[in-house]
Amino acid sequence: MEYWFQRILLVTKQLTLLCLSGLFYTAQAQESDKIDSEYFDVGLFTGILNIEDFNSEFITGINATFNANENYFVQFNYLQTDASLSSFEESQGALFSGSDRTFTHFDFLVGYNLFQGEHFLSGNEAKLSSLYLVSGVGDTEFGGEDSFTYTLGVGYQIAVQRDLLLKFDFRDYIYKTNIIGENKSAHNTQLSIALSYSF
């Protein structure tokens, strides 16, 4: 019951925000609105995640980025995957089952463009690119645990088309876990490719 109440509250909150944003943008009809802006990009990513002490899994996720200025950006990521049985579990039995085998992670990152560049596929058309470092915090749910997570990473992106970004990313999700062993810190690394639409 309470959850429903909370959910309704949340929806109301979102709708209010939506209306506000609509009002705001119609009210602000000035010169700058005639210009197409490129502040955000949203996209999908897929790749491989190595879960420490467990298997590697294919992952899919979504990301949303706000480019705060030419050097910095903030990014939200969400990903999910189901963990298969590790070699240890195959021989000794599963450590946990059901929804606990779903690995869910989200994080908020701040990124710094170490290199900005222009790259060519062929011909003379330069495509904007950058190599960036990211760090941030988030939440990881796995094996019945809900853990405070630090994320570190490196990646690079190229605008293959003006509004289409191709990203190659490496991420490390670091958190404390008690699934196996006592209070150890797990490093789960991820390689992924993302395609994002910039607007």
Binding site: I48, N50, S87, Q116, F120, Y150, Y156, F170, L191
Partner: protein, 218 residues
């Protein structure tokens, strides 16, 4: 947890520092130009060229990074590498890498050693081919301009780990920055695909590696 908070904080400071350094560079440059009094106009502007891989076609260097081994953990990895540029678009790369994987957590739990010390080391010998998908320039602040290349990499390797010697595949991508006419920086993302028989469970494993390499050009 406190250590991680500190780690996070220091990351923030490093990021901030990078920003400050580039800003400071820009300011230095401005101050310098204002203090120079021009006596005679320069008739010929010498064109500034960034360093690039032209006459050199061999790179030798080392790399350091992290390797995650399936069913085990994430550890430091390091090694040496040699790159031979076959054409401007292709190169062949030979890499020798090593990572000390250490005891698995489940070995601690069941208090039993599944692997000997030597078998806990992950050694690979790798021959890879790279195809350049993008070439261009990378800029760091206002003053630094480098030629850079993005490659897709695929190859074969021999991996010694967990008492087995296996043939594996490697797939990845490399971002190569030519910082001077004798040094390149390389950001390598790789996945080692290895079929492994461990605890009588035969399966294909994915092992993710990220490394930063510094190569000398010859």
């Amino acid at each position: 947890m406190l250590r991680f908070s500190q780690l996070f904080l220091s990351m923030i400071f490093v990021v901030q520092l990078c920003g400050n350094i580039s800003a400071a560079h820009a300011m230095d440059a401005e101050q310098q130009t204002s203090s120079i009094s021009v006596i005679s106009p320069q008739k010929k502007i010498s064109k500034a060229e960034s360093a690039k891989i032209d006459t050199e076609n061999l790179e030798i260097g080392f790399f350091i990074g992290t390797l995650s081994v399936e069913d085990f953990g994430t550890n430091q990895t390091q090694g040496i590498t040699a790159v031979y540029h076959l054409t401007p678009d292709y190169f062949a790369q030979l890499s020798l890498g090593r990572s000390d994987v250490g005891r698995a957590t489940f070995e601690d739990v069941v208090e039993q050693d599944f692997l000997s010390d030597e078998d806990e080391k992950f050694n690979y010998t790798q021959l890879a081919f790279a195809y350049q998908i993008f070439h261009g320039r990378s800029f760091m602040g206002e003053k630094s301009k480098f030629n850079s290349h993005i490659y897709l990499v695929a190859g074969l390797e021999n991996v010694e780990f967990a008492g087995e010697s296996n043939t594996g595949f490697v797939f990845g991508s490399t971002y190569k920055v030519v910082t001077t006419d004798w040094l390149t920086w390389n950001f390598e993302l790789k996945n080692h695909l290895i079929e492994r028989d461990f605890l009588s469970n035969k399966k294909m494993t994915n092992n993710i590696e990220f490394n930063i390499g510094f190569n000398a050009l010859f």
